[in-house]
């Protein structure tokens, strides 16, 4: 019997205490902001969309190797010895032409693992976080600064250089093979001359 009234009493009081809490919250100002008109201030370390400063990129491929989802695609071409690509901001001399540098932001998981290994700090995260597109292909951003004719030109130059080098290598190898066969024909005389010189 006592249980019955106790249950009623506890029920009533706990409900009233709960109602007091909710009533108090009616007068607390809202903690939300009206988003598109008011934007929150993001902290400086926030991880948003990446940006690559191609002036500093030496084409070392460290960022592409560090990425866990393989969203960075880099293709480089060696430059001719005569070309001068300039220096990066921290003094390194660039020797590679970067012909492709695509980052697919649909795949990117925004983990920042690519930012740490970069030796020249040319890849970093910006504060752009509203970049929705209508088509999936528009999320693949191309950062390389060479134009398409220039890329084809650099690749052609490289191939020309390669073929030239191979020719030279072939010529050097042929010459060495000829010298070897020539050395096998005449063996003795040069050795005796040197022995006589040494005795004196």
């Amino acid at each position: 019997m006592k249980d019955y009234f106790l249950k009623l009493w506890i029920g009533l009081t706990t409900i009233l205490i709960g109602m007091k809490v909710t009533f108090r919250h009616l007068f607390v100002p809202a903690v939300t902001i009206q988003y598109p008109s008011v934007k929150p201030e993001l902290p400086e370390r926030e991880r948003n969309r990446l940006y690559v400063n191609m002036d500093d990129c030496i084409g070392c491929d460290q960022c592409a190797r560090a990425c866990p989802v393989n969203c960075i695609e880099i293709e480089t071409v060696k430059s001719l010895p005569t070309e001068d690509l300039g220096k990066t901001t921290n003094g390194k001399k660039k020797v590679l032409w970067v012909t492709t540098f695509n980052i697919d932001f649909a795949k990117c998981c925004y983990c920042e693992l690519c930012v740490f290994p970069c030796p020249t700090e040319c890849i970093y995260m910006t504060d752009v976080y509203e970049f929705s597109e209508f088509e999936r292909e528009s999320l693949v951003l191309d950062f390389a600064t060479l134009t398409h004719p220039e890329r084809l030109e650099k690749k052609k130059n490289f191939e020309v250089l390669q073929t030239q080098k191979e020719k030279e290598k072939a010529a050097v190898a042929k010459k060495a093979a000829e010298e070897k066969t020539a050395a096998q024909v005449k063996p003795v005389e040069p050795k005796q001359d040197s022995k006589e010189e040494n005795k004196q």
Binding site: L8, G18, M19, H25, L26
Partner: protein
């Protein structure tokens, strides 16, 4: 009064009756339902430290209008394996059940939909149509979840009508009338005459009544809360258990009817509770109109008091909704049959004893 004036105006009693009963529907209830939905969203938002609708209109005032337009133009999806007649009839019955109750509620001293002597009993009978509508909706949806929801709703509404009726019996014993109009007229002048504080007769009876009336008010408020399926009694529409219960399969205008009917029902029961216990449209401390000697001001004041009390009780209903978790079905039934009904009986007996002595 309105009826007499219309009768003179049109010369036909049927036309006058027709207009008088339908007038609250179009002039008062529809805009009120729009307002109530917005109020619920804003009140819940501020209780949860956020803002609610802010974009449509100033601070979101036109949000419900936008919602109704959206619901009107939605495709009316009817599942193939349903019982089409019952499916289409269910929202209509629920709608009728809620709105017909407004005919017997006094909006002010001069306007009441119909001068029926059985006011409260008519209201309780007509809200029983809602049960039939809900069962039809649950059955015709051809969905296990909806059927479960509808059965629970039916059990809940029928059980909770009993404490309501017991308290109404108590009121009959004290005041001798069931008509809401007469009840409101009785509680005139000051708030001291309100039934929650004992009623218009003075004497030792009045003092003895006060705790009994307060307990009776709590019982009837809780029972009517259960009749309109509001939390903590919203098992039939429990989102997280049955994915919306008996109105899962409805879309477009039919869903809007269920929705609006719920808010109209909320107002109806708030108005009833305030008419019985808190003086209906009477003001707690005299009328400005009689003080300034402007008799035409009095009905307007009464109407505003009526709306204010109704809105206050609706606010308390919303307050409860956003504070409490919901009951489980068997606990709900246990609460009704083991706690509310015995207490209502005890109150009935005690009030009977006191009136006799």
């Amino acid at each position: 009064m309105m009826y007499d004036w219309l009768y003179q105006f049109t010369g036909s009693s049927i036309l006058a009756m027709f207009i008088v009963s339908l007038l609250p529907l179009f002039v008062f209830i529809l805009p009120f339902a729009l307002f109530a939905v917005l109020m619920e969203r804003k009140v819940s938002a501020h209780m949860q430290d956020r803002l609610g609708p802010m974009r449509v209109g100033y601070h979101g005032i036109l949000q419900t209008v936008a919602d109704i337009i959206k619901l009107l133009q939605k495709e009316d999806i009817v599942a193939a394996a349903t019982d089409k007649n019952l499916f289409n009839l269910a929202p209509v019955l629920v709608f009728i059940g809620s709105y017909a109750a407004f005919a017997a509620i006094p909006f002010s001293g001069v306007f009441i939909g119909s001068q029926i002597e059985l006011g409260l009993i008519y209201i309780v009978a007509v809200t029983g149509l809602v049960v039939a509508g809900i069962l039809m909706a649950g059955w015709a949806s051809n969905n296990k979840y909806s059927l479960l929801g509808a059965m629970r709703a039916a059990a809940q509404i029928i059980s909770y009508e009993i404490p309501t009726l017991l308290i109404i019996l108590t009121i009959i014993m004290i005041t001798g009338t069931v008509s809401l109009y007469t009840l409101s007229e009785m509680q005139t002048a000051y708030f001291w005459n309100w039934l929650i504080l004992g009623g218009p007769e003075t004497g030792i009876q009045k003092i003895l009544f006060i705790p009994l009336m307060m307990a009776g008010f709590l019982i009837i408020y809780i029972s009517t809360l259960a009749e309109v399926n509001r939390t903590p009694f919203d098992i039939p529409e429990a989102e997280s258990e049955l994915v919306s219960g008996y109105h899962t399969e409805y879309s477009g205008m039919k869903f809007a009817m269920f929705f609006l009917a719920e808010y109209a029902n909320m107002f109806a029961v708030s108005a009833i509770v305030s008419a019985i216990f808190f003086g209906g449209y009477q003001s707690p401390f005299g009328y400005l109109g009689s003080a300034l000697n402007l008799p035409w001001l009095i009905p307007i004041e009464q109407f505003s008091w009526f709306t204010a009390k109704g809105l206050f009780f609706i606010f308390v209903q919303m307050w409860l909704r956003w504070t409490l978790p919901r009951f489980r079905v068997d606990q709900l039934m246990e609460f009704c049959w083991k706690y509310l009904i015995p207490m209502a009986f005890v109150i009935l007996l005690l009030v009977g004893l006191i009136t006799v002595l």
